[in-house]
């Protein structure tokens, strides 16, 4: 019987076993949605059970001392996005991370923001 446990798209992709062991097998956390550009920052609260945070989660908290996006954190941690979602959801639900939002969540950015981007690009 073929083993479905590990499959690689290419050499860089690597095995999936270890990253999901990190999330204790979970692939989704309901009610928690993160965009790639959602910005997260530490709340300043102390973890109640610091010892039980994975090293990866401690590192995420370190990085989020200043606001960082999910895309940046995922890239920096070199973990798959799905794994990061679960780790971030845990930290969020423990009250250790919060979202930093400079503009209301919307389907499209406002004309004022678009104009700022346009000015920025023209000045590049």
């Amino acid at each position: 019987m073929d083993s479905p446990r590990e499959r690689r798209l290419n050499a860089e992709a690597g095995p999936l076993v270890r990253p999901y062991a990190l999330t204790r097998g979970r692939t989704r956390v309901q009610g928690f949605r993160l965009d790639l550009v959602t910005m997260l920052v530490v709340t300043g609260r102390s973890p109640q059970e610091r010892a039980r945070l994975a090293l990866e989660q401690q590192r995420i908290l370190e990085m989020c001392r200043r606001p960082a996006t999910v895309a940046d954190l995922t890239s920096e941690m070199n973990l798959p996005l799905g794994v990061m979602h679960v780790l971030l959801a845990d930290l969020y639900q423990q009250g250790l991370l919060e979202e930093r939002r400079a503009a209301p969540l919307a389907e499209r950015p406002s004309p004022e923001i678009l104009q700022r981007v346009l000015d920025d690009l023209r000045a590049l």
Binding site: P4, R5, R7, R8, L9, N10, A11, E12, A13, G14, L16, Y20, R24, G25, R26, T27, R28, V29, Q30, D35, L36, V37, M39, M63, R66, P67, A68, T69, A71, D72, T74, S75, E76, N78, L79, P80, L81, G82, R100, A102, A103, L105, A106, E107, R108, P109, S110, P111, I113, L114, Q115, R116, V117, L118, D120, L121, R122, L124
Partner: protein, 211 residues
């Protein structure tokens, strides 16, 4: 190319050398003024999406994966799906930080249809999309154009000037793609920073006009 980065060791070494320690410095303001905005770069495989992103921004690798399952329980686990396989996919994104706290994130959208589950998430809140085309393989861009038209995402078409591309007029390309007259089409050379910048400016202008 988005996928199959052939030499991960050297590319990640280059990435860290190029950006040593600066990834958070890029987001430097300490008040609430940070604003991260998305731009999608779509187009067929090998059309030059990553080159375009790299011409104008700092490239970073990102791993994502195909979704295993979507069971609406509180937390689902892998029990019962042992028979399913999953792959991780390496994609890149580019980041362009400005002094006023705005950071543009350029995401090359995986071209194959099996990654479309990601597109909705990527498109939500985005400024818009650049559909990059190669005139030798116009059909490779149809799916992306259909998607953005139906979704109402502002998009422009950028014709990457591979050799021979200039043999076609923009009018011919517009006719062949059957896109609305108001959708801008521009010629570009994705290797050139100024050209890539001009593509982004055209997109934001278009997004502003249709906002």
């Amino acid at each position: 190319m988005i996928f199959a980065r052939s030499d991960p060791a050297s590319s990640s070494a280059e990435a860290s050398a190029a950006s040593a320690g600066d990834w958070r410095d890029a987001i430097s303001a300490d008040d609430g003024s940070h604003l991260a905005l998305k731009v999608l770069i779509a187009g067929g495989f090998g059309v030059g999406k990553t080159t375009l992103v790299g011409a104008v921004s700092e490239i970073r690798p990102l791993h994502t994966e195909e979704v295993l399952t979507d069971v609406s329980t509180d937390v689902d686990d892998l029990h019962g799906v042992e028979g399913k396989t999953t792959t991780t996919v390496a994609m890149d994104f580019g980041r362009l930080a400005f002094d006023d706290g705005i950071t543009l994130y350029l995401f090359g959208t995986p071209g194959q249809e099996r990654f479309w589950f990601m597109w909705d998430e990527m498109a939500y809140g985005a400024i818009g999309a650049v559909v990059l085309i190669d005139t030798r393989r116009l059909t490779a861009s149809f799916a992306a154009i259909d998607y953005f038209e139906q979704r109402g995402t502002p998009f422009i078409v950028a014709v990457n000037c591979f050799e021979g591309a200039r043999a076609h007029t923009l009018k011919e390309i517009r006719t062949a793609l059957d896109i609305d007259p108001h959708v801008p089409i521009v010629l570009c050379d994705v290797r050139e920073r100024d050209s890539a910048k001009s593509v982004l400016i055209t997109l934001v202008e278009h997004a502003l006009e249709t906002a």
